[in-house]
């Protein structure tokens, strides 16, 4: 149990990543695949935040007295996550826009029934 306690954030993050990948690989409904993608991206973002997080840490502002560098949370991963969230929103928006067009053309969102092009 101590492993889970010590690495709770990493376990949670990789758990979400694996759940997302599992959904994307097993589900056949396009909307469910998009949900899986969203869970996968959340997991990746949580992982990036966990990389820089210090338990009980604070923002890295040096003007306040009595705070040393050891107690500061690394701000770089948070900036990365901000960027990654924006990118994720763009991909999700694109995916949902395609879902509308897909349903218009094929009348279904089941990807097993949409097989006009193969190798």
């Amino acid at each position: 149990m101590s492993f889970l306690q010590n690495y709770a954030y990493y376990t949670g993050a990789f758990g979400l990543i694996l759940i997302g990948l599992f959904i994307m690989m097993t589900k056949r409904n396009y909307i469910k695949i998009i949900i899986g993608l969203s869970i996968l991206e959340t997991g990746v973002n949580l992982f990036l935040i966990a990389v820089g997080y210090i338990s009980g840490g604070t923002a890295p502002i040096f003007s306040r007295s009595g705070i040393t560098a050891e107690k500061m949370v690394d701000p770089v991963p948070q900036a990365l996550v901000l960027t990654a969230i924006v990118i994720g929103v763009a991909v999700l928006g694109m995916a949902l826009a395609l879902a509308i067009r897909l349903h218009k053309h094929f009348g279904t969102l089941n990807l097993l029934e949409i097989r006009e092009q193969r190798w």
């Binding site: 992982f47 990654a84 763009a90 991909v91 395609l98 053309h105 094929f106 949409i114 006009e116 092009q117």
Partner: protein
């Protein structure tokens, strides 16, 4: 001239992105100006990148964004590899933009031009950046705009292909981001040179796992087997000018990123290259054999791109100076040849109204110029002298033989078998174009002037590079030494 040479390479990224943002405003004023915006942007990029290229051969230009010195700020590394690829992207982007002037005449033309500018500025950003998270961001710009462009026509096949591409591409970019996060967690830096300095051995699990995640994520975009299921659909459903850019530039940029991770950041040696060579040979065979059975011209060209990517990866994984410069040369000749093929096939499809190869009977008489350009493209891709493809394939074969190992000679034989298959299916198309009489009495006309200009410049470049390969060999060997010798790269960035 001197002023152009001293321009900052960051303009190569900033100008196309800025123009892309200007397109909607310009569209309000006049719908006629919009299509000239990409032409102007990439003309600027071509001039700047070709002018700066000789300068970076001696000394790479390190651009510090906002004045923060690396490894603390984001930096651009305009070294020989980056500038060579940036110039290639700019020149082919310019010519494809000229082709699109008349080719794109239906649908939301404004959005097409925005996405086209974003796609190529993303590609330029990937090849120039020196920061690994920055690479991810530019990569996403490239990917998202190519998802949208694949679905541009909005027809059944386009939407289906875009959905497949998006699902696989999104998994790929997530894997890449996990890899970047793992590296950052250990080394506390995102600068590629700083990472390379800190990584002592690639075979430790703590470096090997992120490297595999990153290579897999980037490999999906680079269409390395078995990660290339999306490619034939996506490249055959897009408009022809976009297929040309996707086949000629987007997948090669993906491969560049793989190579950058493998060579510069992780400094891989030894047995991992044997694995890459094996993957490359399988990619060549799968691509060429699938192309052989195709009746649809664009699918055939798309499968042929898979084969070509395999060949480029094969050359890089030899990890010798000849091999890497051969791989870069093959990138150049594949871009020129495949873009030429897609562009000329675009007008042949447009005028005959069908993508089936059998419907091209008699095209050689009705559209002599387009048929000639298509033939030059096929001859260059197959690798016949005096076209560019011959010199690059020759360099790769020479590099494989110089390895001296029986394994590499055998694998080279398999790759050459792939080239023979390639020759067979391409000559079949050429035979249909020239030597089959058409029953169809309608008179298809030739392409408009803009298309002819763009295709003829590509054809001239293919012939010129084939005739004078030594002219660019110096660039290639300098670039190869940048990739093979990562200490040099680290020193030039970190000082």
């Amino acid at each position: 001239m001197n002023e152009i040479m001293n321009l900052n390479p960051v303009l190569l990224i900033a100008v196309p992105i800025g123009l892309a943002m200007l397109v909607p405003i310009l569209g309000l004023m006049s719908s006629k100006i919009v299509k000239w915006v990409p032409v102007v942007g990439f003309l600027f990029n071509s001039v700047v990148s070709l002018a700066v290229l000789p300068r970076v051969l001696n000394q790479p230009i390190i651009v510090k964004i906002a004045g923060f010195a690396p490894p603390f700020g984001i930096n651009l590394v305009a070294g020989p590899v980056g500038m060579f690829l940036a110039a290639l992207i700019a020149v082919s982007g310019f010519l494809v933009a000229v082709y699109s002037l008349d080719y794109i005449h239906e649908g939301a033309a404004e959005k097409y031009h925005i996405l086209f500018l974003l796609l190529l500025s993303g590609a330029t950003g990937v090849v120039l950046t020196g920061d690994i998270f920055n690479l991810f961001v530019f990569f996403e710009i490239l990917c998202i705009s190519s998802y949208a462009l694949v679905a541009y026509l909005g027809n059944r096949s386009g939407i289906e292909a875009a959905v497949k591409y998006l699902i696989q591409g999104a998994i790929g970019s997530s894997l890449l981001l996990i890899g970047i996060g793992l590296l950052y967690g250990q080394f506390g830096t995102l600068n590629m040179a700083d990472l390379a300095q800190n990584i002592t051995s690639f075979s430790e699990p703590s470096v090997f796992v992120p490297m595999i995640l990153m290579v897999t994520g980037l490999g999906i975009e680079a269409a390395i087997f078995p990660l290339n299921a999306w490619l034939p659909d996506a490249h055959s459903s897009a408009p022809s000018s976009i297929s040309a850019v996707l086949s000629g530039i987007a997948i090669e940029v993906g491969l560049y990123a793989v190579i950058r991770v493998v060579f510069t950041i992780c400094h891989v040696t030894g047995s991992f290259f044997v694995f890459l060579v094996a993957i490359a040979v399988v990619t060549v065979l799968i691509g060429e054999m699938s192309a052989f059975g195709q009746k649809n011209i664009k699918r055939m060209l798309a499968y042929s791109s898979i084969g070509q990517i395999g060949l480029i990866l094969f050359a890089f994984s030899l990890a010798t100076e000849f091999g890497v410069s051969g791989g870069l040369f093959q990138m150049l000749s594949h871009t020129l040849g495949k873009v030429l093929l897609f562009l000329s096939a675009g007008y042949m499809i447009y005028r005959t109204g069908s993508m089936e190869i059998s419907s091209f009977e008699g095209v050689g008489k009705k559209m002599p110029w387009t048929a000639l350009f298509f033939t030059i493209g096929t001859l260059s891709i197959i690798g016949l002298p005096p076209f560019a493809g011959f010199s690059s394939k020759f360099l790769i074969i020479k590099a494989a033989l110089a390895k001296g190992d029986l394994l590499y000679i055998l694998l080279m034989g398999i790759v050459l078998l792939g080239t023979v298959i390639e020759g067979t299916y391409f000559f079949r198309v050429v035979q249909v174009i020239y030597f089959k009489e058409s029953n169809n009495k309608t008179e298809p006309e030739g392409p408009p002037v803009s298309g002819l200009i763009s295709m003829s410049v590509f054809a001239i470049l293919v012939v010129l590079i084939g005739l004078f390969p030594n002219a660019i060999l110096k660039i290639l060997t300098t670039a190869a030494s940048e990739l093979l010798n990562n200490l040099e790269y680290i020193r030039s960035v970190l000082g």
